[in-house]
């Protein structure tokens, strides 16, 4: 019998190798392409973070982008120079208004803030199951968004927060992606992850095996929020602005789609789905530019990229309804889970 940890480690190392290769090639490419890769890696951290909860519990979450926002705002509070903060966010409490942290501790603080929020929301939320849980997370997203976009003295409201130092370079993004892959793999192999997967397969039988489903869901929710919160901070230091409308429906849709298309029941699926959708949308964007160059149409109604992406995703869903990986893990022997 193989140990569960060895299996998980194999998967994680294979995925890590893939990320490292992409990063190594990326450093040789143009600045624009590097940005595209960094963007994809940040999305991968988000999707992996979501996977920790969604994949292991089987409950779809629409709320994780709220944690992403919280991570981003935390980074903004901690790293924007105090002089700018005074004018942008006059309502910040003193310890935040005077803070001037390096982006790395700020990213961890972003993760911690998201975890804390997940703990508070999760205590009532984990009472819910099935579709009600998904709606609960969605309600949470809307509440987060309403706060981000209206608490002007603390979040800048509808305006964007600027003055964030650059931090998220390609090596940094790759490093955090690898750390997230390892974290997700370790959780998956852990006793807690195993118990949660039991509740995903059959909640009633899991209880009969002594599993406190609410507790396991809460643990996963908090861990998962941590990684997504870190991703939020990285995102903020990538864009160098934080603006509420980025943390809402569109990103929620695209990340959930990435997870499901890859196969939401496996770590490899989370990685594959992100890579697939990011790659495809870039290919389509390039194709669209080709058309653009042919017919010079300023402000034309291109938008073919989105239409093409939607069709491609639908085709994948129809032919592989359990996702690209079908819920299996990448191992040296491609073993079924």
């Amino acid at each position: 019998m193989r140990s569960p940890f060895r299996d998980a480690l194999t998967t994680a190392l294979l995925l890590t190798a893939a990320v490292a290769i992409v990063a190594a090639i990326g450093t040789q490419l143009s600045g624009g392409t590097q940005r595209i890769i960094i963007d994809a890696m940040i999305k991968m951290i988000i999707v992996l973070g979501m996977y920790i909860f969604v994949g292991n519990s089987g409950l779809l979450s629409f709320g994780h982008i709220g944690f992403l926002g919280l991570g981003a705002y935390t980074a903004a509070w901690l790293t924007i120079p105090p002089s700018i903060k005074a004018s942008l966010m006059p309502g910040l409490p003193d310890f935040l208004a005077t803070a001037a942290l390096h982006p790395l501790p700020a990213a961890l603080a972003g993760g911690a803030a998201a975890s804390l929020a997940a703990l508070l929301v999760g205590i009532p939320l984990t009472r819910l199951a099935g579709v009600a849980a998904s709606i609960g997370t969605f309600a949470m997203l809307v509440v987060f968004y309403a706060i981000f976009s209206n608490w002007t003295s603390v979040t800048g409201g509808q305006g964007s927060l600027y003055g964030l130092p650059v931090f998220t370079s390609l090596p940094v993004a790759a490093g955090f992606t690898v750390a997230t892959i390892l974290g997700a793999a370790m959780y998956q192999a852990s006793a807690s992850g195993f118990r949660l997967r039991g509740s995903r397969e059959d909640a009633v039988a899991a209880q009969a095996s002594g599993i406190d489903i609410r507790r396991e869901r809460l643990i996963a929710f908090v861990i998962s929020a941590f990684f997504v919160g870190v991703a939020g901070a990285l995102y903020a230091h990538f864009l160098q602005v934080v603006v509420a409308r980025e943390f809402y429906l569109k990103l929620t849709f695209i990340t959930v789609a990435m997870l499901v298309i890859g196969g939401m029941r496996s770590l490899s699926g989370a990685v594959a789905g992100t890579a697939f959708v990011a790659f495809l949308s870039e290919v389509l964007r390039q194709a669209e530019r080709g058309i653009d160059l042919g017919v010079v149409s300023i402000g034309g109604r291109l938008g073919l990229q989105e239409v093409g992406l939607a069709i491609a995703m639908l085709i994948v869903l129809i032919f592989r309804p359990r996702g690209i990986t079908g819920g299996r893990e990448l191992t040296l022997g491609w073993r079924s889970r």
Binding site: V131, V143, V307, I318, R322
Partner: protein, 293 residues
């Protein structure tokens, strides 16, 4: 007098949400699918009416209904039928994807800039009733809502087709084995939901006077939340949930002081969250969906 006006507002907004919730609830009933593309039915109805507005009004109504219905049937055929019975998450994301597709297709065809909606401008007329100045539109939309709700209730409760619909909603295999053509029933549910969406298209577009590719998203979200609150799988629950959300949102508008009003959305969804936690199965409980040990 103002209170009366607020009640009228609440009923109007609630009716709109109830129609959305019913359209979503109907499809959930027969397919266990939360159809996020329902919002795009509303959008398509609006654009269809605007594009056809050169025709006489009855023709616009008839043709635009046909367009929305055809779209709904096409979506069912092309996207949802191949996925029937698959993982709920897959179905959900498929409906996301269809919604994303239709929104961007609309950008492609009609452009991203909002278009004016000028069909039946007479709806903007104002009636003076006992000191209340009420736009004709409010009456028309109220009337249409009541008509649609009553029609649906009669259809589902009193007709054989309604029994078939409910039978398929509860157990597809038994329905098939009883000779019910499930493909037809599901297609029918999509047709009805499309007609409900069309009613929303008309009243909603006439109220806001604008069409944009993403116009269906907002009513969809509220309708979806209303469906859950009312109790997924129960049509009366969906209607009730719609009116409840409408009433709560108007109430919050009225009672919140002006500086906290921008946070109204946070209060509304916070309340939704609390209701869910207290009563996860929704207001109307459906026994077929309760898990048996």
């Amino acid at each position: 007098m103002i209170a009366l006006q607020h009640i009228l507002d609440a009923v109007n907004v609630g009716g709109l949400y109830a129609l959305m919730a019913l359209g979503i609830g109907l499809i959930f009933g027969v397919m266990r699918l939360i159809n996020f593309a329902h919002g795009e039915m509303v959008m398509a109805g609006g654009y269809a009416m605007a594009m056809l507005s050169a025709l006489p009004a009855p023709a616009v109504i008839a043709v635009s209904i046909i367009i929305v219905v055809a779209l709904a049937v096409a979506i069912e055929r092309g996207a949802f039928r191949p996925l029937r019975g698959k993982d709920p998450a897959t179905l959900l994301v498929a409906s996301f994807t269809v919604s994303y597709f239709l929104q961007n297709l609309s950008v492609l065809v009609f452009g991203a800039r909002p278009l004016p909606f000028a069909f039946m401008p007479g709806l903007a007329e104002i009636l003076e009733i006992g000191g209340l100045r009420v736009p004709l539109l409010q009456f028309v939309s109220l009337g249409l809502t009541v008509l649609a709700l009553a029609g649906l209730a009669i259809l589902v409760k009193r007709t054989t087709i309604g029994i078939e619909l409910r039978a398929a909603a509860e157990d597809v295999v038994t329905a098939q084995l009883s000779g019910i053509n499930v493909n037809r029933v599901i297609a029918l549910a999509f047709v009805i939901s499309a007609v409900l969406a069309w009613v929303v298209s008309l009243t909603y577009s006439a109220q806001i006077g604008q069409l944009s590719p993403a116009m269906g998203v907002r009513p969809l979200i509220i309708g979806f939340v209303a469906t859950i609150l009312g109790g997924l799988g129960s049509l009366p629950g969906a209607a009730l949930g719609g009116f409840l959300v409408g009433a709560i949102s108007v109430l919050l508008e009225v009672v919140l002081p002006s500086e906290t009003r921008p946070f109204r959305e946070a209060f509304l969804f916070g309340l939704v969250f609390i209701i869910l936690v207290v009563r996860p199965e929704g207001i109307v409980r459906v026994c077929a969906l309760q898990e048996r040990v």
